[in-house]
């Protein structure tokens, strides 16, 4: 599955829409999605609009933006704003920007001009400095009230753009950076997408629901993978499984089923194992000990790390919080920690040097503690 078909197709449309003068540039470098919650906080205005006229000349970007919708700020719909930006040197060029539409994060400068705050971190072109937005009809489920929190507005704007195939740039990844987890609005969007007839939208929906800790969708995914193999999942979904953190025992059972159903799907089995490790409650142990025999070394490491995280809970650095159905729960003081369990929690590199030793230890540990677990 291609992550970014949306943004790349979007960029392609720009090519057709706007002129380009003779430049010759190899550009790029590492980029990452900006934290939209923080970006909105830094912005004096967040608007959806279309460029009436404007140019990029060299690094200087300047355009007149006609505002369609206002998510934040003392700006009116139909107002025209003058927006400026200094593109990175690597993206020096000459472009006509007329017709460019999107969601813009704007900051008022000391001179009163609006400065564009890029939505992509790193050395990025104007095309990635704004979010996609739709000007087409927005379904009622994806509309928001004026008083809604800014994160919810951003999430619904992105969802509308995704649904209208109006530039699905990094959609779910951007949504992940918004503080909307658990809200009715975000659940409604993901459920809507997950029931779509579009394969792409359905993947967004399933991935989003997994991110929200949904148990049913995880169980369904396990059943689908069992029935259809790797084709039932894509990178979007797999990456969300990696971050799954709901420790509800039913969810753990679904993860366990997924880990068992993916013995021939390395990345998905790894992600199921990583989620079990992250959760590391006693319910995860039966699945983790089975994964000690996985054919994939990174899965075996996650199994060792998960068992060790349970046994040494409270005494390991950067231990993830325990979350059950969206609520943080204190981990129970464990009775299994010993000098041996501590010594047998290796780094990946140490594990690779003597894998058999660690696998044997944790198999033995499981055999010894299993009868007393209840």
């Amino acid at each position: 599955m291609k992550f970014f078909s949306g943004i790349l197709a979007f960029a392609g449309r720009i090519t057709l829409a706007f002129g380009i003068t003779g430049v010759h540039a190899a550009t790029g470098g590492p980029i990452g999605l900006a934290d939209l919650h923080a970006l909105a906080g830094q912005s004096d205005a967040v608007v959806v609009g279309i460029v009436l006229q404007g140019l990029q000349t060299g690094r200087d970007v300047s355009f007149l933006l006609s505002v369609d919708r206002v998510l934040k700020g003392n700006v009116n719909p139909s107002e025209t704003l003058t927006v400026q930006w200094m593109a990175p040197t690597a993206f020096n060029g000459s472009y006509d920007l007329k017709g460019r539409k999107g969601l813009f994060f704007l900051q008022k400068s000391a001179t009163g001009a609006w400065q564009l705050l890029p939505a992509m971190a790193g050395t990025t072109a104007l095309e990635l400095a704004m979010l996609p937005a739709t000007r087409a009809h927005v379904a009622p489920d994806l509309q928001y009230a004026a008083a809604a929190p800014i994160d919810e507005k951003l999430m619904l704007e992105l969802a509308a753009a995704i649904e209208n195939k109006d530039g699905s740039a990094f959609g779910v990844d951007y949504l992940a950076g918004l503080h909307t987890q658990g809200t009715a609005a975000v659940l409604k969007v993901y459920q809507r997408f997950s029931q779509s007839s579009s394969t792409g939208l359905r993947a967004y929906g399933i991935a989003g629901l997994i991110r929200e800790g949904d148990i049913q969708v995880l169980s369904t995914l396990a059943a689908d993978v069992t029935a259809k193999g790797a084709s039932a999942s894509g990178d979007l979904i797999v990456n969300e499984v990696c971050q799954y953190s709901n420790a509800n025992p039913t969810a753990v059972a679904a993860l366990g089923a997924l880990s068992g159903a993916t013995t021939t799907v390395p990345r998905l089995q790894f992600c199921a194992a990583a989620a079990l490790r992250r959760i590391h409650t006693k319910e995860t142990l039966v699945y983790l000990q089975e994964l000690l025999d996985s054919r994939y070394p990174d899965v075996r490491y996650e199994a060792v790390a998960g068992l060790a995280s349970f046994a040494n809970s409270g005494s390991i650095p950067w231990e993830p919080p325990l979350v059950v159905d969206g609520a943080a729960v204190a981990r129970q003081p464990n009775i299994y920690k010993s000098s041996q369990t501590l010594e047998n929690f290796p780094t990946v590199a140490t594990f690779q040097q003597n894998e058999a030793k660690y696998i044997a230890f944790w198999k033995g540990w499981w055999t010894s503690v299993q009868p007393g677990l209840h």
């Binding site: 540039a25 190899a26 992940a176």
Partner: protein, 377 residues
């Protein structure tokens, strides 16, 4: 007899009113001295004294009675210990109790009764005077507070990924200067000072385990705090974040290669800086004259989430094929290639932890990372 510093001296009463017979002045100022003192980290000194000052002090006999408890229980049989001294002298109860990590810790309490009794012959008509006093002292082990896990990033911090931390000693009331020592895996961290209250810990190399394998021992006057367990982690690995994807980019193409940065315990890291470095480029096809890319950084604070992407793109190019204009397969003509290396934990080119090298290869219609070698630090 106490010859130490009297910390707590209180007159029993104001000067006793003179009721002496003609020719005999028995006036005194009764004095009680008492305290519980942490004289050193390993010693608690308890004392209670009664004596008199003034012209008549030689006619008064002092006495002191002490009941001392530790954590609510009578300490070493000190239940109403009565001590007296000769007229004009000082009656003293005093004890020194050893403090170790196993004993002598807790709440000390004394109840004292101080009496002065006049010589009935020399001071007829004078009455015995009595008063009470009490003291409390809490004695605890020294303790250490502060961050117990930091990062090794090649010598510098990166945003919230700190390579140093300042620890703090609480001496528990002991008067000595805390002393710090690394007693396990001392090669992994350094301390800015040994005899101090707030040492700066700096990472030198990462831990070998995903638990606290470094032990810092702080002591005060020979009394040990609980060992302070410590860990140094390190960004370690670039995991593929999924398949690369290519699309049109004006008249050229743009490929994104997703990555997730993982630490030595294979947890994903977010908000960590990335830098790249290019070696010399070689042409696969001399007909192409594409510009060589420039190394760029990605500051950790600027992006969210675990996934970041290497953006490879070319436009205004001779002989390139935008994907929308390609057949299938297409865009497969090799153009050029160069070695690309990745550092994590710094925006400085070749700074931070060197985690991967790969061939940065460009084709007529897309880019690829080939020959990926993960650096095992």
């Amino acid at each position: 007899m106490n010859t130490g510093v009297v910390r707590f001296v209180i007159p029993l009463f104001a000067m006793f009113a003179c009721q002496a017979l003609p020719g005999q002045d028995c006036s005194i100022t009764p004095v009680k001295a008492h305290n519980i003192v942490r004289s050193s980290a390993t010693d608690v000194w308890t004392y209670a004294q009664t004596y008199a000052t003034g012209v008549g002090s030689g006619y008064w006999t002092p006495a002191v009675t002490t009941w001392e408890t530790l954590n609510g229980g009578t300490l070493n049989g000190r239940s109403n210990i009565y001590t007296t001294a000769g007229a004009g002298q000082i009656a003293t109860n005093q004890w020194n109790d050893a403090v170790t990590t196993a004993s002598g810790l807790g709440s000390y309490h004394t109840d004292n009764t101080h009496t002065l009794t006049p010589d009935g012959v020399s001071c007829p008509g004078w009455q015995q005077t009595s008063s009470s006093s009490s003291d409390d002292l809490s004695v605890s082990k020294p303790t250490v507070s502060g961050l117990n896990a930091i990062w090794y990033l090649g010598g510098s911090p990166d945003g919230n990924y700190t390579n140093t931390t300042t620890l703090a000693a609480a001496s528990g009331g002991a008067p000595e200067t805390p002393y710090w020592n690394v007693t396990a895996n001392s090669n992994k961290i350094s301390l800015s000072c040994n005899s101090c209250t707030f040492p700066l810990v700096t990472s030198l190399v990462p831990s070998a385990n995903c638990m606290y394998d470094i032990t810092i021992q702080m002591s005060v006057g020979g009394l040990n705090a609980d060992p302070f367990q410590f860990n140094v982690n390190e960004p370690w690995y670039l995991e593929s974040g999924g398949l690369s994807s290519t699309g049109d980019y004006f008249d050229g193409w743009l490929t994104v290669v997703p990555y997730i940065t993982r630490d030595r315990c294979y947890y994903p890291l977010e908000h960590i800086s990335i830098n790249e470095h290019f070696g010399p480029f070689a042409k696969d096809d001399p007909a192409y004259t594409w510009a060589v890319p420039t190394a760029m950084p990605l500051p950790g604070y600027a992006y969210g989430g675990y996934t970041w992407y290497d953006e490879m793109s070319i436009r205004g190019c001779t002989g390139c094929n935008p994907p929308s204009q390609q057949g299938n397969p297409a865009g497969q003509v090799g153009v050029d290639q160069g070695q690309q290396s990745w550092g994590v934990g710094s925006t400085i080119e070749q700074g931070g932890i060197y985690v991967q090298q790969n061939t940065f290869r460009r084709f007529s219609g897309h880019g690829e990372h080939q020959n990926v070698v993960r650096i095992q630090n």
